[in-house]
Amino acid sequence: MHDNLWGLGLRPSHFSSYSALENVPPLEIMTDNLLHHRGGPALHHTLKIASRARGIFLHGIGLNIGGEGSLSPDYKNGLRELVNLFNPQVISDHLCFTQSGGRQSYELLPLMRTDAMIDHVVSKTDELQQFLGRQICLENVSAYVSYKDDAIPEGEFLNTIARRAGCGILLDVNNVFVSSRNFSLDPQAELERYDLSLVRQIHVAGHSIRDDFLFDTHDAPVCAEVWNLLAGVLSRNSGIPVILENDDDSIPLESLLEELARGKVACAKVQKN
């Protein structure tokens, strides 16, 4: 596994640590942390660190690709500026909705998986890709509720959108695990629904247990089951870059780099066997 295929999400709490790091791994930058920044320390430090990283991925949460209505012109313009600034390998956001009726939830809410939603998302994805002049990727989200009118399994839902829109998939292995467990499905079987030829990037992260269901907190170490699932994916396609996500600002960079290294080893062992 090449070193330029395993990376981390860039957290502002680690800015000074990256400055001292000789070998900066591939980094994922959060679009929404820098949207509309025209200067200032956050952008300045991100640019400095990004220039030394072995690859840049731009990842957003506020696109609202599945929401009613058109894409926000403001958001599209801000995104395009960041794409031009960072020239990332992959541009991504989530397959979800975040707002409605003029109200923002800032939450990644699951879409109802219907043909009408597919048509809607394909149309907006197409519009954005034309606007950016670049392919984007859509990520599967963790879900805690399912809709009565869900008609299509999640993997097939994303595959269909990706094929029709010509976009890529950002496959979040932890989210597949969380959603599968929450709906009493087999995570491995759900993962195998995804067409890996459409996958351009992978996320792996930790989660928490909330009463009797799993909650995607992004602040815990990746569990062994998720590493195993990832290994299975990589054994089918080893060339997909992997980003380890962790939103806990109290965790030092060294610990995340160690976890990343352990994950690489764990995946390599499973693939060997």
């Binding site: 200067g39 939450e107 009408a116 197409d126």
Partner: protein
């Protein structure tokens, strides 16, 4: 390009109702939300997870970013409480979370009886302006995007306790709160003095520094009056430095030099002191 087919608005009803329930914060739980028409009843209790994380996430994010100076002074819990109250009244609409509480100062100022709220409103406004400065383009650092604003046209406003942002000056690039201490506000004088003595400086090196004006300089700030332009205010400070009694001038100059040295060391900002 894929031909866009207009989707039946009814297909989005579930989105409208879910976001409305999530942001209304009216106290109803998932099973009481009325969303069982869309969501499997067995999962309704899990909606509470979305709701409980929603307010916590956005208030903590804002407390750590835009309102960081307020958080440093009053603590995360207090700032999050104020923000939560604000969002319960006015659910956020902005794409960018960091703009979601831009209306907070105006809402706080509606409580005219509560002097602490007025002060906190001003602090919040400084924070919002600071954030705009922090994320603005270099070397333009004014939220009004004026590079060389005429300082004779920017005035001190006593009622808001704020000086409007100004651009470069020989002494410093600064946005400052220069009102006199008001013990009537009911806050400890030292807290207000340190708050009112905060200088927000933006340097061309893009690094940002917040520092307290030394006690020995506060006496100069107290001589500034309403209706005085920022240009005049800075001239008054210059004048007092040069023409005070020798011993006081020496102490004040030493304090100013030390203060400027601190700024320079942190900001790599080249400041030209009021020269002989």
């Amino acid at each position: 390009m894929q031909k866009s087919k207009k989707t039946d608005p009814a297909a989005f009803r579930y989105q409208q109702e879910l976001v409305a329930w999530l942001t209304d914060l009216n106290g109803s739980s998932g099973p009481e939300s009325g969303l069982e028409k869309f969501i499997l009843p067995a999962h309704l209790y899990r909606l509470d997870t979305y709701q409980s994380s929603y307010l916590g996430r956005i208030t903590i994010n804002l407390a750590k970013t835009v309102f960081e100076p307020c958080t440093n002074l009053f603590g995360t819990d207090f700032v999050c409480l104020v923000l939560a109250g604000y969002f319960k009244t006015l659910p956020p609409a902005s794409d960018a979370l960091t703009s979601a509480a831009d209306g907070l100062p105006a809402v706080l100022r509606k409580d005219e009886i509560n002097k602490e709220a007025l002060l906190f409103a001003d602090l919040c406004e400084i924070c919002i302006r600071r954030w705009t400065i922090l994320t603005s383009a270099d070397p333009q650092s004014s939220p009004f995007n004026f590079v060389h604003e005429d300082l004779h046209r920017v005035f001190l406003k006593k009622e808001t306790l704020l000086v409007r942002p100004c651009s470069r000056h020989d002494l410093a690039s600064a946005w400052s709160l220069t009102s006199q201490s008001t013990p009537a506000a009911g806050l400890p004088e030292s807290l207000f003095a340190s708050v009112s003595g905060v200088l927000l400086c933006k340097s061309t090196a893009t690094d940002f520094h917040v520092t307290e004006v030394p006690e020995t300089l506060m006496v100069f700030c107290s001589s500034l009056t309403e209706q005085m332009s920022v240009a005049s205010a800075i001239d008054v400070l210059d004048f007092q430095l040069k023409h005070f009694s020798p011993s006081a001038a020496a102490a004040a100059t030493a304090a100013l030099q030390e203060f400027m040295a601190r700024l320079t060391a942190v900001n790599a900002l080249e400041l030209r002191l009021a020269a002989d």
